[in-house]
């Protein structure tokens, strides 16, 4: 597993004094948060609290927005991913992402959607690639539904299936961390239940960080929960503690539905 010579072996990622801006608007204020390995960490909070920006800082997607800025550090296995020597492309291969709206590549087949990331790093067509695609789709619990339609476009399947395809696409690269930005917000309850079951399974092999505006979902799938409000981290702890014994009155108000 993780090299024990680096600090806490159970710590996969760490944000240190992480602040972020869009233009002159500050959306994250000094976030210090630890992400445990092989666990699901949920980020909850009302709309506009900076949840999405936070996880987009964890794989350097934030900087793709033209006016975006950030300061502070994000450690992945005790290495600052914002170090000048670090290539953001390498970070994104280690830290995969699933988006709010399913975004399979419409010009590619289901097969190619999963294989695209591997082809970028030089994988050639063949049995080996077929095997990885199959395993990734199986892992995303989609294989049985699409195994006969691998040549069809990635957008030809239902929304829930598309989201699982996006998960398979992320898994295919064998990342260490998977970030999920409200992965169920565009899906119906049945598709949501499937994704939630999948999230719990994924933590065996990966570290998962999931953003959700749905508190029940956070309590169902996560081991740790962070509550963000107006760009600040209000409370962070074991999910059970946050939901049963919130220390901060603001957290309590939020989880009891007084605002949101």
């Amino acid at each position: 597993m993780i090299d024990k010579s680096f600090g806490d072996p159970n710590l996969k990622m760490q944000s240190i004094n992480l602040s972020a801006w869009f233009g002159s608007k500050q959306v994250l204020k000094d976030i210090n948060l630890n992400v445990k390995a092989n666990a699901v960490t949920a980020i909850i909070g009302p709309s506009g609290c900076g949840k999405s920006t936070f996880i987009r800082c964890l794989n350097r997607m934030h900087e793709l927005v033209p006016t975006a800025k950030m300061s502070g550090e994000v450690l992945l296995d005790n290495e600052n991913i914002y170090d000048k020597a670090v290539d953001p492309v390498m970070v994104r291969r280690r830290v995969g992402m699933v988006f709010q709206k399913p975004n399979p590549f419409p010009t590619m087949s289901i097969y190619d959607n999963v294989a695209a990331g591997l082809k970028l790093i030089g994988a050639k067509k063949g049995k080996n690639l077929d095997e990885i695609v199959k395993r990734s789709l199986e892992h995303a619990t989609l294989w049985e539904e699409v195994k006969d339609d691998l040549k069809k476009p990635g957008t030809s399947i239902s929304g829930g299936q598309q989201q699982r395809l996006c998960i398979a696409r992320a898994i295919a690269l064998q990342p260490e961390v998977i970030l999920m930005d409200e992965p169920c917000s565009a899906l119906d309850p049945i598709a949501t239940a499937k994704i939630e079951r999948l999230v719990v399974e994924l933590k065996r092999d990966y570290t998962v960080v999931i953003v959700t505006h749905n508190m029940q979902q956070a309590s169902r799938v996560s081991d740790y929960t962070a509550f963000l409000y107006l760009g600040s981290l209000v409370e962070f702890g074991a999910t059970r503690d946050i939901f049963e014994n919130p220390k901060n009155p603001l957290t309590e108000k939020y989880i009891t539905g007084e605002f949101g």
């Binding site: 794989n59 997607m61 492309v89 291969r93 995969g96 988006f99 975004n103 695209a116 992320a170």
Partner: protein, 332 residues
Amino acid sequence: MQSHRWKTLNHPTSSKFFGTKIKVTGDFLFKNLVAIVAASALVILFITAYVLSTGSAPVVERFGSGFFFGTAWNPVEGREIFGAFPYVLGTLVTSGIALFIGVPLSLGIAIFLVEMAPKALRVPVGYLVELLAAVPSVIYGLWGLFVFRFWLLNYVEIPISTYFGWIPIFSGTPFGLDLFTAGCILAIMIIPTVASISKEVISAVPNSIREGAYSIGATKWEVIRHWVLSYGRSGIFGAVILGLGRAVGETMAVAMLIGNATGPAAMPTSLFKPGQTMASLIANGFLEATSKLEVSAYVGVGLILLLLSLMINVGAHFLVTRIFKVKGGIVE
């Protein structure tokens, strides 16, 4: 029920103040006037096609398919012979050069403006590129004649001819007024069309696709090459076809730069020799045509040009309608 009430309320009012009869007549007039104006576009196209067909009838009757495939062009009375083939080829070759040089430049401009340029540059530069379309073609011709052709001659044609003159398409002694120069000026002239439409197409590629590609570790170049261009390919193809339409029909600048060869000498065997396109042939020769048959020959070349342009534009229309589909979030 609602409409019934309105009827009973409205009818007396309108007839009382305006008179039912006048109101109906006004609507009737307006409706038909607009219909006539709209129909005139169609009528003009049909009249053009009709005039070109009847006008070219004498030469087509006399030479048959030889008018299209023949290479000779002799207007001397009694020994007349007209063949349009060198000019059809000249049109295709110059347009081909225009696409070969102009499309990569245009795509580069479009990609830079959408994917890379800072916001402060994007709008002014995009506007300047579109302004290139406002420059009259005779200005391009003048600039080409007095400035650009010498650049091409000294820095492109002579070096290529020195080292690659053994390749047939680069043979001959270049002197600047030739198919290559005409093709290069056309390349510049199609840039505003191709670049601005490609820019729209690339802007219409949803950001979620770029993000998905970045999230699996694609570099900027890979995102553009494998995702953006692939998603926008039908729209970009439509842009290229529209550029081709402009290159095929462009007259003035080409007539000033192509060297105006006629007859078999106009066959485009080398890029570095004078040639002729259909449009430049008509512009250069039409006024001096004397015999009925010679006039008919020019009209016949015009007919071929019209048919080629129509084919290209119908193709473009078919493809450009797909851009709107892409904008709606659906691909192909």
